[in-house]
């Protein structure tokens, strides 16, 4: 009987130690701080890109006149509505 009692005490002590260890690990993980570089320099000119250039090397713009946009101004195409109205207003 005593043996069982001591054995259960030991198990209890071991399990509490295990739980304490687990919680202490979690707390330790939460405290991790990431640090980034405060300043970093990229030298784009120095970068090398591998591949074939398929676009023309120089940029050319064809000279043309300034385009003017004409608005469509009102123009009478017919007087159909007036003709219909004449018939309806005859009487």
């Amino acid at each position: 009987m005593k043996t069982i009692f001591y054995a259960s005490l030991i198990l209890l002590a071991l399990s509490s130690c295990f739980i304490a260890t687990v919680f202490s690990d979690e707390k330790a993980e939460a405290k991790v701080n990431y640090k980034y570089k405060k300043y970093e320099r990229f030298d784009l000119g120095n970068l090398e890109v591998q591949g074939n250039v398929i676009a023309p090397g120089d940029l050319s713009v064809k000279e043309r006149e300034r385009r003017t946009f004409n608005r469509s101004l009102f123009s009478r195409g017919n007087f159909d509505d007036e003709s219909r109205k004449d018939v309806l207003d005859l009487r």
Binding site: R71, L73, F74, S83, R84, V87, L90, R91
Partner: protein
Amino acid sequence: MENRFINGPAGRFIFLAIFVFSFALNAQEKDSQKGQNTGDGLSFQIQKIQKLYANGKNIKNNWLAFELIDANYYFAASIFAKRHLIANGEHNDIFEEALEKIVVKTGVEVFADLPEDILTKAKGPTLALVLGLRKFREKRYQESLKALEIIPAHHRFGPEALLISGTIYNLQGMQNKAIDLYRTCHRTATYAANKSKHEKLERYYSLISEFCLIHTARMEYKNKQYDKSLMLYDDIDKNSYQWPYILLEKAWGQYQSQDYNRTLGLLVTYKSPLLDSYFFPEAELLTALSYFKLCLYDDALQIIDNYYADYRPKSESLKLTLAKLAKEKNGFLATIFKQRSEKEDLGPFISKLATQIRKEVKFNLDLLTLRRAQDEIQAFNSWPNSMVKYLLIGEIQDMANYLEHGLNQYVASKFYKFINDVHKFSYELFNIKLEILSKKRGLIYSNLKLVADRARGSEINVKRKSTQHFWDFRGGFWADELGEYSFGLKSNCQEIGIKNAQGDKQ
């Protein structure tokens, strides 16, 4: 023996007695035709009508219609004519003649409530016209054509039927058929107008004749045959009621022919005191467009600015006035009959628009019809109490209300159309303004300028055709020159380079 009897004193007495008797009978007939009471008793005709109606189930509707037509009660006659048509469908020539008389005196509106199947079933030119017009209004053109085709060209309603059919073909783009019909319409209507003994009938046919001519001119315009179109418009007499309206259409024709000076000349006619009540926002737009085409940008901008300063605020004010009138029963119609000072108090444009509407044929015809209906009601009120009296008064009152409501709606539509036009053309004028600003900016960017700052008129810039004369109007009647003006402005569209400070062109 017989000769002695006739030539003797007894014979003379008998002749005298017959003469006096026939004179009295004639006088009685005339009184009864007017449907008025003669002395203490009822007129013979009224008694007859009452007796006919008192027959109960055996009422002869067509007889009643004939009697009422004889007594000049056309609205009343239409009630029994409709009943006869519903009961019998087809009818004979005598009844057809009666229907014609009713339509001439009251218009087609009295048959507006007849069911379509009755109109289709009852063959005859009068009801064919009623049906044709109804279908035309509903834009069911094929059905309208089918109904109208039974009306012969030389029938009383022939010219009108030709005008409607021609217009249908015109709207459907069947030009050749339309031109043929319009040509026949113009010829038959002119003939009928010359033969007419009554002034109103003559005016009706003259109007149809002018419409057929104007519609043909419009068709030529639609086909871009502007010279032909203008020649047809020139055939319209200046005394015509349509003449002030076609000025604008002629101006469009001249504009499309690129004669901007004539366009401006035609439009300036509206500034005449005689045509004071004819004012159209579209005329302002066309004026601005003509100046624009002549590259007289500052003049065009002036027209646009004046439009914004004058038309827009006044149209906003008019809108508020119309909203108030809409709440009154027949408020729009009542406005037309107000005193000039009262109309001016109501708001801007009301007085001028009212004058314009009062000159319109449609308005005058409808008003005359309404007055006739009201006169009939008044006449029946003096009849002794009877079933037929109350029936007639009730039905004619309904017709009069319908006519009055229609007139009110017509006047309202004219007012609102004006407001809509002001807004529509305001937008179009704004477009011209933007275009002018764009052109001006283009000139600055290109270091160019127009040949002159302001064009001055000159006789040498006036284009003239063989039919157009240069009138000096010395000693002539001032109104003769209306519609004959032309501006003499030189086109300002030539661009020149701007000289720099040293005088060199850049």
